[in-house]
Symmetry: C12
Subunit: 77 residues, 12 copies
């Protein structure tokens, strides 16, 4: 991975309950789950899109801050 560009952009996910799941999906021809991270209430994860990750799925109540503003999951439950 030497010489690759490392982007400046990142996304901030704050868990609002225990057991929030952050799932990375692969960038390649196949779009598969390649990593799952669990967050407890109040934990924060900051992450980038990478050579291996072009999509992210978030399950459970969480606050997602990004360049387009803030989205709260499960707000309608």
């Amino acid at each position: 991975m030497n010489g690759n560009y490392i982007g400046e952009e990142y996304i901030i996910i704050k868990a609002l309950e225990n057991g929030v799941t952050v799932i990375g999906l692969t960038r390649g021809k196949d779009t598969k789950f390649h990593h799952t991270e669990k967050l407890d209430q109040g934990e924060v994860m900051i992450l980038q899109f990478t050579e291996h990750t072009s999509a992210i799925k978030i399950r459970g109540q969480a606050e997602i801050t990004n360049r387009h503003g803030t989205t709260v999951t499960s707000g309608d439950k």
Copy 2:
């Protein structure tokens, strides 16, 4: 895919009901479905256009936040 540029832009899709479908369409000469992702109510998916995906189709009630603002699908149902 080594050495490729990884864009900074992404789109945020929040499901407002169970069974929202996010479908990736291929970038190449043929425009075909290559991946389908199901979202339950309140789940959020953040995704980029990639070497393999140049169009995305969203079915079911969802809130789509992007660089041009926010669009809500099925709002007229």
Copy 3:
């Protein structure tokens, strides 16, 4: 298509009725239809111009959000 630049720009089309047609026209010397996508009411399609597509035609009532604002087709019917 390896090594090509993947643009950051995209257009958002939301169908306001069943049977909205989104047609991709080829970029090359000949400008021909190369793909047709049907959208039902409330469905959203997000797409980019690509190596193969330099023009898009939309038929049926739809809301098109882009960098120059929002256009509603068939508004005068």
Copy 4:
């Protein structure tokens, strides 16, 4: 055409009557018509300048949205 830059800019043409004609003129030494597209009332066409097209001519009542604002053809008829 591999490896060429694909611009981010595009123009949006909305037909305000049946039979609006969008004509592409060639970029090369000779400036000739190379493509003609017919739009019915309410249809929208979104297009880019390309390697082959450096001028566009629009006949019939249409609304043209672009980076410099919006122009309505035939407004004085």
Copy 5:
């Protein structure tokens, strides 16, 4: 012309009377007319500067929209 940069800028000319003439002048050592396009009232032409065109001359009543604003020809007639 393969591999050349295609600019994002363009100029919009709307004819306000029949017989508006848009003339392309060559970019090279000699500055000569190389193309003449006639516009009828209400027609719109959108064009770019190219490898072959570095100057444009407009005769007849027309509205010219560009990055520096809008100019109306023959306004003092």
Copy 6:
């Protein structure tokens, strides 16, 4: 001249009387007249600096719109 950069900037000259003269001066070691264009009242010329032109001289009453605003020649006559 293949492969050269084509600038995005241009200048708009609108003749306010008959016989406005637009003169291109050469970019090279010698600064000489290389082209003269005559404009009648109400005609508009849009032009770029090129590989061959690095200065422009305007004689006669004209309105010159450019990136620094608008200048009217002969205003004090």
Copy 7:
């Protein structure tokens, strides 16, 4: 790592209690913990995403200042 780009962006983490944990996750195919840093109350850590780190996880009460604003972990406890 010679010749790599060193980004200008950074994130500021201020511990609001003893024992705040800042965990770096690897950028590669596998997303694993590769470093853990403990912060006592009032300590500040400023860090960048690197060739080796594409995600960061923060546990314990902390104030995280970044390009999208400020997030406080565990605020709902």
Copy 8:
């Protein structure tokens, strides 16, 4: 001079009296006059810095519009 960059910047000089002199000074090791242009009242000259010109001297009453605003020569006479 093939392949050189052609800058987008230019300066606009409007003569406010007859006999305004615009003098180009050479860019090289020696700073010498290499061109003199005479302007009559109301004439406008638009010029760029070039490979050969890195300084310009203006004599006589003139209005100079540039990226830093407008300067009038001889204003204190």
Copy 9:
């Protein structure tokens, strides 16, 4: 290190008490302390992220000015 890019960004740390510690952490695979600098009250240190430093830890009361604003350590003591 010849030919490397030297970033324009820097961080300003002002000690508000004696004994403020500024610790540089290594950028490589291992994240280790590689330098410690002590600041007395009122002293200021201005520093950049480098090829060798991708994280900084600050202990003791200090004011940290950076592109995201100003953070004061130990403010809750």
Copy 10:
């Protein structure tokens, strides 16, 4: 000097008295006077930094307009 970049920036010096002196100092290892230009009252000189000039000294009452605003020499005499 072929192929060098020609900057877009320039400085405007307007003499407010006769005998204003504009002195170019060399860019190289030695900082020496390499050119002196005399300006009479009301004359304007527009100049760039070049491969040969990295400092300029102005003597006598003059108005200097530049990217940081306007400075008047000798204002306190």
Copy 11:
């Protein structure tokens, strides 16, 4: 050092008392003092980060103006 980029950014240090010390720290693997400059009251030093300097330490009462605003050392004495 030929061919290296010379940054545009700089920092301005104004001594508010005699004996202000400005210390340059090395950019390399070892962070060592490599230069010390003494400033008397009212003197100003303007400096850049370089290939050799990635950190600066200031002792004594001084006003430091930079891209993030102005910091005064020793203000709490």
Copy 12:
């Protein structure tokens, strides 16, 4: 020094008394005085950072205008 980038940035120093000293310090491994320029009251010097100069020291009452604003030396005398 052929082919090097010539920066667009510069600093403006106006002497407010006779005998203002502007000292250039070397960019290399050793930070030494390499040039001293004396300014009399009202004289202005405009200078750039160069391949050879990465720091400047100013002694005596002077007004320094730069991208971060204006600093007056010796203001507290």
